[in-house]
Amino acid sequence: MYSRAYKFVVSLPPLLWVAIFLLVPYALMLAHSFWLVREGVIIHHWNLQNYSKLFHNPVYVEVLFRSVRIAVTVTFLSLLLGYPLAYYMSFHAGPRKDILYQLVIIPLWVSYLVRGYAWKTILGSEGVLNGFLQYLHITKEPVSFLLYSPFAVVLMLTHIYTPFVFLPLYASLEHIPRNLVEASHDLGASPCTTFLRVILPLSLPGLLAGATFAFVLSLGDFLAPILVGGPSSIMIANIVQSLFGTAYDWPLGAAISVCILLLTVTLLYLTERLEKRWSF
C-alpha cells in the first residue's frame, strides 16, 4: 500500500540520525575501552589492559558486588511493594481502580532529584524523622545512621522504582482473562492455589519486565549514592563518573561502562526470551 519512495523517505532520516547520534557515540565508548591514557593524553593504541585492570583490582570488584547487591535489594523491595498493590488494584479495587492508578503515576512526575532531596531532608540527623522521633520521646539523641548509608540508597531507589515495577505488573494482571480465575475458583481451588497456579504464572512477563527495569537502572545509578549514600555506598557508576572527571582515565571508565552495557544487554536478551516463552 505504501510506495517505495514513501518507505524510503520515512526510514532514511531516523536511520541517519540514530546512526550518527547513538551508534557512533556507543561505538566510541567501545573504542575508548581498548585505548590507553598516558600523562593525561588518550593514546589510540589497541589493547586489553583496561579490562584486566578492572578484574584484578579488588576495589572495583568489591564496588561492583556492592552495586549488584543494592540493585537486587531494590528490585526485590520494589516487587514486594509493587506486586500486592497491583494485585489489589486489579482484582479488588472495583470502581476506584482508575483513580488509584493515577495516584501511582503522579509520583513518577516528581523529579528524581527532588525525591532524592526529600529523602535527604527526612533522614538527616537534623531531619524530619529525627525531629519526629525526638518529639515523641522515642529517642533523645539524633539517630545518625539513617542518612549516608547503603540503607538510604536502597530506600530512595525503592521509592523511585516501585511505580516503574508496578506499571508492567498491573498491565499484565489486567490482561489475565477473568474467566480463568473464576474457573479455578469454581473447580474448588482455594484463593491461594488460584494465585499460585493461575495468576502468578500469567503475570510473570510483567513481573520480569518491571524487575529488569528496576535492576538495570538502579545498578547504573550514581546520583543516589552522592545524594544520600555517602562514601560507604559508592556504586560502580560513581567510579565511572570519577574516572571521567577528576581521575581522568576515560579508557578505564569506558571499559567499566562497556561491562555495565554488556550486562544490561544480556539481561534484556534473556528476559525477552523468557517473556516470549511465558506470554500467552
Binding site: M1, Y2, Y6, K7, F8, V10, S11, P14, L15, W17, V18, F21, L22, V24, P25, Y26, L28, M29, L81, P84, L85, H92, A93, G94, Q102, V104, I106, P107, W109, V110, S111, Y112, L113, V114, R115, Y117, A118, K120, T121, I122, G124, G127, V128, Y135, T162, P163, R178, H185, F213, V216, G220, L223, L227, A237, F244, W250, A254, S257, L261, T264
Partner: protein, 274 residues
C-alpha cells in the same frame, strides 16, 4: 456468584497493605511541600510558623529563573526533535522493511533501557570527538536524541491502533502520500502526539543524568538544583519543587481534559453517524 466475590470483596489485609504503599510513595512529596512553608526551614518536627518567605526568596532568585528558562528552551527543542524523528522512526518500523530493522529498533530504544550514565558519557565522548563545545545546544541534542525512544514507543503504539482503511481510501481516491500524511495520518495520531509530547517535555525538564555530562556554562533547572544540593539544604529547593509538582499535576489534568474531551467528541461523532 463467584464473580461478585472477585469484584467487590476487598480483603482487609491487602487494602491496608495498599494504603501503606501509597503512604510510602507520598510521604517524601508531602514532607517536601509541607516544609516549603516552614519558617525555621527544613528539618525538625513538628513544622511550625507558616511562612511564604521561601517563595518570595525564590522569586527574587534570578539564577533559578534563568535556569528555568534554559530548561524550557531545551525541553521545547527536545520535544520538537524527538517527536519529528520518533514519528518517522515509528512509521518506518510500522510500514517499511529494510536490512537491520531489528537492530535499528533496539538501538532507538537503548537510551530508555540503559542506565543514563552510559548514554550521557557516550554523547560526551561524541561531542569531544566532534570538537563541539559543551553548551545548552549539546544538552538539547542529547535530550532530543535520547528521548526519540519515548516518542517512537508512544507513536508506534498509536500507529498500531490506527485504522488503515482511511489511509488506503485516501490513497485510492487520488491523494498524494504527502496529502494523506497531513490530512489522515497526523490527525489520527493527534492523541499519541500530545501524550508523547507532554511526556517528553516533563522528562526533559527533569533530566539530570545525561545533562550532567553535556552541560556547559548555562545551567538547566535540575543542574542548578543539583549544584545547590551539594552545598547544603535550603528550603528554596522545597519551594521550587512544590511549584514544579503543581505544574506537573496541572499538566496531567490538562491531558485528561484533552483526552476525555476527544473521547467524548469521538463518541458523539459515532452516535451521530447515519
Amino acid at each position: 456468584m463467584r464473580a461478585t466475590s472477585l469484584g467487590t470483596n476487598r480483603p482487609t489485609f491487602l487494602s491496608v497493605y495498599a494504603l501503606v504503599v501509597f503512604a510510602f510513595l507520598y510521604l517524601p512529596i508531602a514532607v517536601l511541600i509541607l516544609y516549603s512553608f516552614n519558617r525555621s526551614g527544613v528539618g525538625g518536627f513538628p513544622p511550625k510558623h507558616f511562612t511564604l518567605s521561601w517563595y518570595s526568596q525564590l522569586f527574587a532568585d534570578t539564577a533559578i529563573w534563568d535556569s528555568v528558562l534554559n530548561s524550557l528552551l531545551v525541553a521545547v527543542g527536545a520535544v520538537v526533535l524527538s517527536l519529528t524523528f520518533g514519528l518517522l522512526a515509528a512509521l518506518a518500523l510500522d510500514r517499511a522493511t529494510f536490512p537491520g530493522k531489528s537492530v535499528f529498533r533496539r538501538l532507538v530504544l537503548l537510551p530508555l533501557i540503559l542506565p543514563g550514565i552510559i548514554t550521557g558519557l557516550s554523547l560526551l565522548m561524541f561531542a569531544v570527538f566532534a570538537g563541539v563545545q559543551l553548551s545548552l545546544l549539546t544538552v538539547f541534542l542529547g535530550h532530543g536524541t535520547a528521548l526519540i525512544s519515548v516518542a517512537t514507543t508512544e507513536l508506534f503504539a498509536g500507529l498500531q491502533k490506527m485504522d488503515r482503511a482511511q489511509e488506503e481510501a485516501s490513497l485510492d481516491l487520488g491523494a498524494t502520500p504527502w496529502q494523506t500524511f497531513w490530512r489522515i495520518t497526523l490527525p489520527n495520531l493527534r492523541l499519541s502526539l500530545i501524550a508523547a509530547g507532554l511526556l517528553i517535555f516533563t522528562l526533559s525538564m527533569d533530566e539530570i543524568v545525561v545533562t550532567i555530562f553535556l552541560i556547559g556554562r548555562d545551567n538547566t533547572l535540575p543542574q542548578e538544583i543539583w549544584s545547590r544540593l551539594r552545598i547544603g539544604i535550603t528550603p528554596e529547593i522545597n519551594a521550587i519543587s512544590t511549584l514544579i509538582f503543581a505544574v506537573s499535576v496541572i499538566l496531567i489534568l490538562v491531558w485528561y481534559r484533552i483526552r476525555t474531551r476527544t473521547i467524548g467528541k469521538q463518541a458523539q461523532e459515532l452516535l451521530e453517524r447515519p
